[in-house]
């Protein structure tokens, strides 16, 4: 009965009579943007992320102090006029350290996600496009990698090669691409059964063009959504690694590192944990709202207009 009711709802959705008044169509992308712009939470998320990114880029010019400027005489001070968010046990300005930490955290978030995006989309598209034995081989590889305890792999990598930011991106990206590959492969497999792909093949459209013009644009929706959800995951992973002491090396900071040191002195100097925690939480919420908004906006089934 549930399924029947759903099917019924699909049927009665308002018929979209062609709009003869305007000759230029609205693409699904334009439609999606329209829907997204009506979603206040998602828009707020987008604004927050943009703001944080801009601040992170401009930090060297904006930051009130240097990230490693210590003033041991100060010690840990609560927020004040000179130090808006207070100072840490070594007397370093917390606001500055959060700003510099954001550079690292956001960079890890974006770059590691980009790594996972590139590997995942390519892997998934190829597996889905060719199907058959190639698909089976590639996806079983993904399954095997899934089964490995990747945290241990990352930790080993860090221990053996030392703590290196680039390595950190690669290691985290290498963990995160698996899910992306599965999502893309599922989408492509579904699309390959669509008649417009058959039509393209039968009209002699070259393979590269089919992949670029017909497949990729149609999988981009779910990919974008999953990307916005991967970034917070990656940032949490970095925080976790830093927490374990395997992430960023002091005196550099990252949000994860700031939090892990903040936790140690939580009872005496609570602001050392609260402020980095707030910023991280705000970022994660923003990305999640944005992701949810994008998912709704890019779903052609959700009501338009």
């Amino acid at each position: 009965m549930q399924a029947q009711a759903k099917a019924l709802l699909q049927q009665i959705k308002p018929t979209r009579a062609p709009r003869y008044d305007e000759d230029h169509g609205t693409s699904l992308w334009a439609d999606a943007w329209l829907k997204l712009s009506r979603n206040r939470l998602a828009l707020l998320g987008l604004l927050t992320i943009t703001f944080m990114t801009v601040v992170a880029i401009l930090t060297p010019w904006l930051a009130p102090y240097s990230y490693d400027a210590q003033d041991l005489n100060l010690g840990a001070l609560p927020p004040s006029g000179a130090h808006w968010l207070g100072t840490d046990t070594l007397g370093r300005d917390l606001l500055t350290r959060i700003m510099y930490g954001g550079r690292v955290s956001l960079m890890v978030g974006f770059l590691a996600t980009a790594v996972s995006l590139i590997i995942g989309v390519l892997w998934g598209t190829i597996a889905g496009y060719f199907g058959g034995r190639i698909d089976a081989l590639m996806m079983r590889t993904v399954d095997v990698l899934y089964a490995l305890p990747f945290m241990i792999f990352v930790i080993l990598l860090m221990v053996v090669f030392g703590r290196n930011l680039v390595l950190l991106f690669l290691a985290i990206g290498a963990v995160e691409w698996l899910t992306m590959a599965r999502i893309v492969r599922g989408q492509v497999t579904g699309l390959m059964k669509m008649e417009f792909i058959e039509a393209a093949i039968s009209m002699g459209i070259p393979r590269s063009r089919i992949i670029l013009r017909h497949l990729i644009p149609n999988v981009l929706g779910p990919v974008i959504v999953y990307t916005t959800l991967t970034i917070p995951q990656v940032m949490l992973l970095e925080a976790f690694l830093s927490f374990l002491g395997l992430g960023v090396q002091p005196p550099m900071s990252s949000w994860g590192l700031l939090m892990s040191t903040g936790v140690e002195s939580m009872e005496e100097f609570p602001w050392l944990m609260i402020f980095p925690g707030l910023v991280l939480a705000l970022t994660l919420f923003s990305l999640n709202f944005l992701g949810d908004g994008l998912r709704d906006a890019l779903d052609p089934k959700s009501a338009k207009e």
């Binding site: 009965m1 399924a3 029947q4 009711a5 759903k6 099917a7 019924l8 709802l9 049927q11 009665i12 959705k13 308002p14 018929t15 979209r16 009579a17 009501a303 338009k304 207009e305």
Partner: protein, 321 residues
């Protein structure tokens, strides 16, 4: 046995109110088959769903109307009252049996379930009733079949099972919503034959919702044609096919290839209206080749234009067409 008055079912969507069913009235006589014909989006399925309280709410809402069935108003029943009528006194079958059958439960259990819900019956008696129900729909090796799951049956067989489930409590009324649309023609012929036979044997009333005028021609005693949420014409079957009194029905009949050999098919120009927007005058007006000024004035109402023959065409009502 069923009298529906001024049924309105609207859907409140973000785009506005969609008048899916907009004030329809009809009755079903005991033992008769009523064919409900229309194209997609005409409101024919929503009408059937409304009667059984199967409209997803929200966004759907039954705005007004009564549906008297054996002295009970179906539209005012509580969920539990409807529950006891559905299945027991009114059976329903759908287009796609696969979405109605639970894939994880054996056919036998799904057949016996309505018996356990509506009647105090022992397991062994329920089993006998289920076997009998399967035999009636032409499944003879019921003993073996009852232990099987839906995926082990073909599309046609699943539809037979749906019919068996819908009819196991011997309802007085069966609502069939495009039950053969997903089937091949030879399988469709089998299912239609089955429905025809069961109806005759049990003296059951049937509301048969379909887009296929051919099915209605062979099955229905009376036919209603729906367009844009309204009934535009209603008549006894022969009368409707041989003396249609609405331009839409006429156009529909003329666009069927088999009523025609060679040459161009008649086609109704344009598209059905957007039900989310209020209509000025007759909904079919913009596509009608007989449109006159009078058609744009006010919403037409359905009126008798001949004995047992009702049409909502203003020009036919006036006698100018």
């Amino acid at each position: 046995m069923l009298t529906v008055e001024d049924l309105k079912t609207y859907f409140h969507t973000r785009a506005g109110i969609v008048r899916a069913v907009d004030g329809i009235s009809f009755e079903v006589k005991a033992g008769e088959t009523l064919g409900l014909v229309g194209e997609s989006g005409s409101g024919k399925s929503v009408s059937g769903y409304s009667l059984l309280g199967l409209i997803p709410t929200p966004p759907g809402k039954i705005e007004s109307g009564t549906a008297l069935f054996g002295g009970v108003d179906l539209l005012k029943c509580t969920a539990s009252e409807l529950q006891s009528i559905r299945g027991k006194r009114i059976g329903m079958i759908f287009q796609d049996p696969m979405t109605c059958l639970n894939p994880f439960v054996t056919i036998g259990q799904q057949l016996m379930e309505p018996l356990f819900i509506h009647e105090k019956i022992s397991v062994s008696n329920a089993r006998i009733a289920a076997l009998e129900a399967l035999r009636e729909v032409g499944i003879l090796d019921g003993d073996r079949r009852m232990a099987q799951y839906p995926h082990e049956f073909s599309g046609g067989m699943r539809q037979r099972i749906m019919i068996a489930i819908a009819l196991i409590l011997k309802p007085e009324l069966l609502i069939a919503d495009e039950p053969t649309t997903a089937l091949d023609v030879t399988m469709q012929a089998q299912i239609l034959d089955l429905i025809r036979r069961l109806q005759r044997e049990r003296g059951m009333a049937v509301i048969f919702v379909t887009h296929d005028l051919g099915i209605v021609a062979g099955l229905a005693d009376e036919v209603m044609v729906m367009y844009a949420g309204k009934i535009v014409e209603r008549a006894r079957t022969r009368e409707l096919f041989y003396a249609a009194r609405h331009p839409y029905t006429r156009g529909l009949l003329a666009s069927i290839p088999s009523n025609h050999s060679g040459g161009d098919l008649y086609n109704i120009p344009g598209l059905p209206p957007d039900l989310g927007k209020p209509l000025a005058g007759c909904a079919f007006g913009p596509r009608c080749s007989n449109k006159k000024d009078v058609c744009g004035m006010g919403q037409p109402t359905i009126k008798a234009v001949a004995p047992l023959h009702y049409s909502s065409c203003v020009r036919i009502q006036e006698g100018s067409l």
